[in-house]
Symmetry: C2
Subunit: 684 residues, 2 copies
């Protein structure tokens, strides 16, 4: 029996569960007519954006696919199209779930907080399940179509097209979604909260619907596409690396990642369904119960599969250490961004002395917060490397640690999507004037969502760095194949990657500038879109009579339209820059310096991303800390300062930071895909 | 004749000119009693700070010198002490000049703007001359004492102690001075300008004297010590690298850098003295005339010495290309931070929509501004490398390009110190109520100072990156000597610096986190000191009756005391972290991964520094652009937003950024110095 059937079946099984969840969700009541109306606006806005976004993406995908077909053959082109379209399909399904779960969560909160939790979490699981299953189905089908197998091992390389497609569409989705959500958010906050002094999610705010749509298209869809691509890249590259170790582990070296993922689904499903009201415990404890059951089940699965299939207990250690590292990084992130940690309190305190000191303190802790996670990630890398003996097999150890780490992604994505769903639910509850009690329980969900963010963020960044290291080694392995270097020892390629060579240092330096350029473009794109939004919201407050008194309705659709239009227009440049840079380096500096370039991109990109995530998160929570009544509370001078800090952090943490994560991997997987071209048409 | 006499004589000659300038300056009138009183406060504050700072530094220097003596011998210890004390001496002399030139410039402006320009510029030249001459005297004397020469070439290595001492004391001076000046500046701005709405440099502001002292101890002394150390490190490391090429160029390979510097003095001196009132041209044109005459003279000297001493015209190309690169980088910096460039105008425009968008736009352009200079610097590196054939000799080419680039430093430092002197002069003119006409001409000098900053900053960053690359290669060269590797080809060490090795990648990654950690600590130190200052200034406004009406005098000395005390207390931690990190890596990861660590520090440090410099500069000028009457001008909403941005940028551009420049080189030169210990006592 061809074992590839197992991941294929597991994929389809999980898709069915996602479909079942979706139908189950739709049967729930969506509440009052006002709630339905609001939810309708959000659904409409989100769908309209996704459709237009997919159209824009296809303008790049289709010609690129044709080019790939002409230059690299049909397999790469097919894989590329499948990767891109599966990625879009997954977030489309996931978002359909999310925009239905939000209003139903708000409605359930009116009668049962426990029910609301289950609805929000399972709504998130639709995204989680659709992503992990579509990745598996995509790769397994291509594996079958390309007739990969022990008799045709080289065909594994053809799978990179899938990763490239997934990465490219993810970068578009994240950059576009990020600009959308932050333009709306900044517009709503700066004019609504700061200038007009109306509360968050107030129906009088013209940008409020755009803001709620943004939660879905930015946080849900963007983050989902990020996870899709990193999962796809990670699997494909681990399989490519595995190819070098068929001698040691047999064909399992290639198939093992897919099998672990397939069986691991079980743990995810059980984890998701064990999130429910447990006695009188709060939503956070329930989610933790789910998370820990999934974790422990995964460890068991790791043990069984490592010993049974690979016959090597060290593989189990690598897998488990990866899983553990995520937890530790999450604690670090929680310290730096959590409302209970020292940094957030210091930032809140500094707000009393004005916005500048709020921002400087946040910058300072944000910069610092990058240090420990990176050192820990270096530790995981070295652990995997030395666990499998330190030689070339050590690279497989790094890939295994990464595989173990990314195994929880179905669960993590459910938690991640749970966030915007509860956020939306709280917004709908506020806007449709539900009772204070109901709002209390949606707010409790929202707060739980903010805490789980620390875990999902810690996960995101560990995953990002380690996955890119794996992709990078896949690049090196593929390059060695093409150049006929029998890679039996890392020293075999020392000459090509000699860090004492000025060309390598120069490539590293130029790679290091990429994340700066890319973030600059993304932040500027958000600022531009946000400026339009600020102008529009100011205009509506000025020109619509009776708006502030609640006597007139704002024109929500104009704001939705601005977010949609500007985000689609502004997302193209950063993505193209990210796409073109490694191509230039590949053709000019050559294929080995390109590896150094990619290392530069990875290291600096990862550092900048952590800094952006954590300073943004800390500013956000410092604001919430003040809103909870400290330093003068809402409306005081410290609060105004904290709102400015929060608004500065918004595009960093929700647009530029997450996009960097994707950029890093896109550039590496793109380089693998185009490697034959670089070798054939090098300029020097 | 021992040719070392030439740099020694040149050094002493230039010291004499500095002394003559100082006496010439003192003979000028210091103006009205009120002006003398104010200048007295500034002198007193600056001297008191420097004295206490030197005392604090000596608590670290003295025990470290004893340790070095015990572990590495008397030469390293002596070099270390000479380096540290010459560095302090140079900035002490330079600052004595600056705090006398400021008031005399203000006084001269009452009668002749041309005279004021000459006074301010020559006042700056005291710093410039004392730095370049003391570096030369220090290195040449140690060269004689250690009996370096063709018969005793290895003794060149002993000179690293001088570089280490210079770097360490520079890091203290820059971090301490940076905290001092920015705490005072932020305190004066946030409370005085924003809250109390009184103008800049208003005598009613309690922090105004501390602010003026800060210009001297931060911008003058800090920047001066930076230049001293980079000049020292650069010379020593170029000589060490030269050691490997005695076979090609004879002993000139080692001596050439010193000789170029010695003869190059001539160009600097002529350049400085040609800055005077040329007809009706403004101060900026006069400075440019000086700059260009020095540049052209330098090119001639380069040509003669390259052909005559080295017999290799390619050396001339390397030297000249380095000189040229500074000009190009300066244009880039000018575009991003100049008041006429697009970015500054965009930031000013964004200020209309609040502080957040001002800050985001500034962040965006700041990040972007790091890209082109780095690519250009990579280009200079490759130019030098390939110009001398691309092999191991190519490294000498890089060193030569760097030498050419740093040659203008006497001139650049004069321009740099000219900035704070004019700034101070404008402040004194404002505070002592001089006529509007006088203030116009001091303001014109101040504005010229702001423009020359683009050149000195472009210089600073190009110098920083290239010098650190040179120091890095010196590290590698010394390491090869110790390990008995006859370095005839860069491939000889490929195995040790294999970028495909996870240990090397991990070291690179950890190195890359260093600048984040260090900047975090520095920014936080400024924030803390500034918070104290804000509290104190608020207190004085609250508690001293009649202060705002101008009826009572503020307590200037309390503010000076706060700046002094907190900056000395807060400067220690960042410096110690910078000192200890490479030691840990050297003993644990080992000496080759340490090289990767240093590359990580260099690349990320340089990127962060450019970003900080330029975003800070752009915010500053965006504020000035608005103050010139755009978007509502002074006092409008856009102006308040721009002041917040400026205050955020202040510690970035004047404390964290410049300190990073020093940190990078300190860690590398420290690693060279301690290399024998790492080799002898490695843990693994």
């Amino acid at each position: 029996m061809n074992l590839i059937i197992i991941p294929l079946i597991a994929g389809f099984a999980q898709v069915s569960i996602a479909a079942w969840l979706f139908r189950w969700l739709k049967r729930e009541s969506a509440g009052t007519p006002r709630m339905k109306e609001l939810a309708g606006y959000i659904q409409e806005g989100a769908h309209a954006f996704l459709k237009r976004e997919f159209k824009t993406i296809s303008y790049v995908i289709v010609p690129l696919a044709i080019l790939l077909f002409l230059l690299l053959g049909w397999q790469i082109a097919v894989g590329f199209v499948v990767g891109a379209s599966f990625s879009m399909l997954a977030i489309f399904i996931g978002m359909r779930g999310a925009v239905r779960a939000n209003v139903r969560t708000a409605n359930a909160a009116r009668t049962s907080p426990g029910r609301a939790l289950v609805l929000a979490f399972r709504g998130g699981a639709i995204m989680g399940f659709s992503i992990v299953s579509l990745v598996l189905i995509g790769i397994s089908s291509l594996y079958l179509i390309f007739r990969v197998g022990p008799t045709n091992p080289e065909a594994v390389h053809l799978l990179v097209g899938f990763g490239f497609g997934a990465s490219l569409s993810a970068l578009f989705a994240q950059v576009g979604g990020g600009i959308y959500t932050k333009a709306a958010d900044i517009g709503a906050d700066l004019v609504g909260k700061v200038e007009a002094r109306i509360p968050e999610d107030d129906p009088r705010n013209p940008a409020v619907i755009a803001d709620l749509v943004g939660d879905n298209v930015g946080d849900c869809a963007g983050r989902g596409s990020d996870l899709f691509e990193s999962s796809a890249d990670n699997l494909v590259c681990t399989m490519i690396i595995g190819l070098a170790f068929i001698g040691t582990y047999g064909w399992y070296a290639v198939l093992f990642p897919l099998l672990v993922r397939a069986v691991g689904k079980l743990a995810t499903i059980i984890g998701v369904f064990s999130v429910r009201q447990w006695g009188k415990r709060g939503p956070l404890t329930s989610i933790n119960i789910g998370l820990f059951s999934a974790g422990i089940l995964n460890l068991i699965i790791f043990y069984v599969l490592s010993v049974w299939l690979m016959g090597d207990i060290r593989i189990f250690y690598c897998l488990s250490f990866g899983l553990l590292a995520v937890l530790i990084v999450s604690f670090i992130v929680q310290y730096y961004t959590g409302i209970k940690g020292g940094p957030v309190r210091k930032i809140a305190e500094a707000s009393q002395r004005g916005a500048s000191l709020n921002i400087l303190t946040g910058l300072s802790y944000g910069l610092e917060s990058a240090v420990l996670p990176m050192v820990l990630i270096a530790g995981v890398m070295l652990f995997g490397y030395f666990m499998l003996g330190g030689g070339i097999l050590g690279i497989f150890g790094i890939a295994m640690a990464t595989l173990g780490m990314t195994e929880m992604k179905g669960m993590i994505q459910s938690m991640d999507t749970f966030g915007p769903i509860s956020d939306n639910a709280a917004g709908i509850a506020q806007m449709s004037g539900l009772s204070a009690e109901t709002r209390e329980s949606t707010d409790a969900l929202d707060a739980a969502g903010n805490v789980t963010k620390a875990i999902t963020k810690g996960y995101g960044l560990t995953k990002c760095v380690l996955s890119s290291v794996v992709v990078l080694f896949a690049y090196i392995f593929v390059l060695c194949r093409y150049q006929g270097i029998a890679l039996t020892n890392l020293s075999d390629i020392a000459l090509y990657l000699n860090l004492a060579k000025p060309t390598i240092i120069a490539a590293l330096l130029i790679g290091a500038t990429m994340p700066f350029l890319f973030s600059a473009l993304t932040i500027r794109a958000v600022s531009r879109a946000a400026s339009r939004m600020v102008d529009e919201v100011r205009r509506q407050f000025r020109e619509i009579p009776g708006l502030l008194e609640g006597k007139a309705r704002p024109d929500y659709s104009r704001c939705v339209d601005i977010s949609t239009r500007y985000s689609l227009r502004q997302m193209v440049l950063p993505v193209l820059v990210g796409l073109i840079a490694p191509i230039i380096i590949g053709f000019t500096f050559g294929v080995w310096p390109l590896a150094a370039f990619l290392i530069g991109v990875t290291i600096v990109g990862a550092l900048l991303a952590v800094f952006m995530f954590n300073s943004g998160g800390a500013w956000d929570n410092a604001k919430k800390f003040i809103e909870a009544g400290r330093y003068g509370g809402k409306g005081g001078a410290a609060h105004s300062a904290a709102v400015i800090g929060d608004t500065v952090g918004d595009p960093l943490k929700d647009a530029a930071g997450p996009s960097l994560h994707i950029l890093i991997k896109l550039q590496s997987i793109l380089s693998i895909t185009l490697l034959p071209l670089f070798l054939a048409y090098a300029i020097f």
